[in-house]
């Protein structure tokens, strides 16, 4: 099960995730992110607040990567806020640490864009 919110803050899409992001739950997130991205042409950065994310696998990562590609085209960056060690491990396994920044707060991410 997953709960999430997606909002636009300046030039960033901030997605707060809560629960599990897997094959079953990631389509809703994908739709919400895609819609927010299309409706807000000034939004180019992606900030994922994952402090309450309890699980992620390649399906969840696929959605994030897909949106990151679109963000890249607009010249945007990718951030993960408060990824705990377990989540960080899975993110690093996929090489996310090479393309994303890990920060401690949304504010910090917004400062760095």
């Amino acid at each position: 099960m997953v709960r999430f919110s997606v909002k636009v803050v300046g030039q960033a899409l901030v997605a707060t995730l809560d629960g599990d992001l897997d094959l079953h739950t990631c389509p809703q997130l994908k739709d919400a992110l895609t819609e927010a991205f299309e409706q807000n042409s000034q939004a180019k950065h992606l900030v994922f607040d994952v402090r309450h994310l309890t699980f992620i696998d390649s399906s969840g990562l696929g959605v994030i990567l897909g949106r990151y590609r679109a963000a890249q085209e607009r010249g945007g960056k990718l951030f993960f806020v408060k990824a705990d060690p377990r989540i960080q491990r899975v993110l690093r396994l996929s090489g996310m640490h090479r393309i994303a920044e890990f920060v401690d707060s949304t504010a910090e991410a917004l400062d760095r864009v």
Binding site: M1, S5, T54
Partner: protein, 238 residues
């Protein structure tokens, strides 16, 4: 608290406006008195109930107090509000549903993470689930279930402390590290109290639109409309 007493005339006027349907007045009253709710909630903390649930109930009590306060009586608003807040909290505790259980599971998960750190340090290796469960005084099954539970709704009071209103804004918005941050803070100060409350609740306390709507006693559609307009205004400022 002293601030409210010296401004009691101002408060009564706000209440009058709020009861007449002025949304700005209503949200300012709510915002100003959230520390009061937090202080009441503290009395109910060691009973195993989730802080956020208690706070939400208390905030509802506050709203009821604002709308129901009889201006013809010569009492301080806080004198009337506190029993209303307590009443609403107690009502919630009586009606508490099993959904409460999943929240304590998530708190167990948080305790488990902390416990894992502690035990790792003392043993020089990560603990097994059996060792963790024993340490936390729960069953292994509960512990494993806890790692899968969703988190409770986060608390507004994590961000809004019991300081004065002016200081509160400084607490919420991180110290501006640059021109943009300063501009943002200035822009926020230029907003109406109701507008600022919405921005603070949505972007800094990270409440959902539905939660903000409930807290301020308006519809979600209204929050959505207002938020769009305010963000557009802010962008214009910045």
């Amino acid at each position: 608290m002293a601030r409210h007493e010296t401004n009691s005339v101002a408060i009564r006027e706000l209440i009058r406006l709020a009861q007449a349907g002025d949304m700005n007045a209503r949200t300012k009253l709510v915002e100003d008195n959230l520390p009061l709710v937090a202080s009441v909630v503290r009395r109910f903390l060691n009973r195993g109930y989730d802080y956020d649930d208690l706070f939400q109930a208390g905030a509802l009590g506050l709203l009821k107090a604002i709308l129901g306060f009889d201006l013809s009586f010569d009492v301080q608003f806080s004198t009337y509000a506190v029993p209303m807040i307590i009443g609403e909290i107690k009502r919630w505790m009586r009606e508490d549903t099993p959904l409460h259980i999943s929240r304590s599971l998530r708190e167990l998960a948080a305790r488990a993470t902390a416990a894992q750190d502690e035990l790792s340090q003392s043993r020089g290796r990560k603990p097994t689930v059996q060792e963790l469960a024993e340490y936390l005084e729960v069953s292994v099954e509960e512990l494993v279930s806890a790692m899968e539970a969703l988190s409770p709704v986060r608390s507004l009071s994590e961000h809004i402390g019991e300081d004065d209103d002016e200081a509160r804004l400084e607490n919420i918005i991180p110290a501006p590290a640059n021109e943009e941050g300063l501009a943002l803070r200035r822009a926020l100060k230029s907003l109406e109290p109701a507008e600022r409350a919405i921005i603070i609740l949505r972007y800094f306390a990270e409440k959902s639109q539905a939660e903000v709507a409930e807290l301020l006693g308006v519809s979600q559609a209204q929050v959505s409309r207002l938020e769009k307009r305010i963000v557009a205004e802010l962008r214009h400022h910045l």
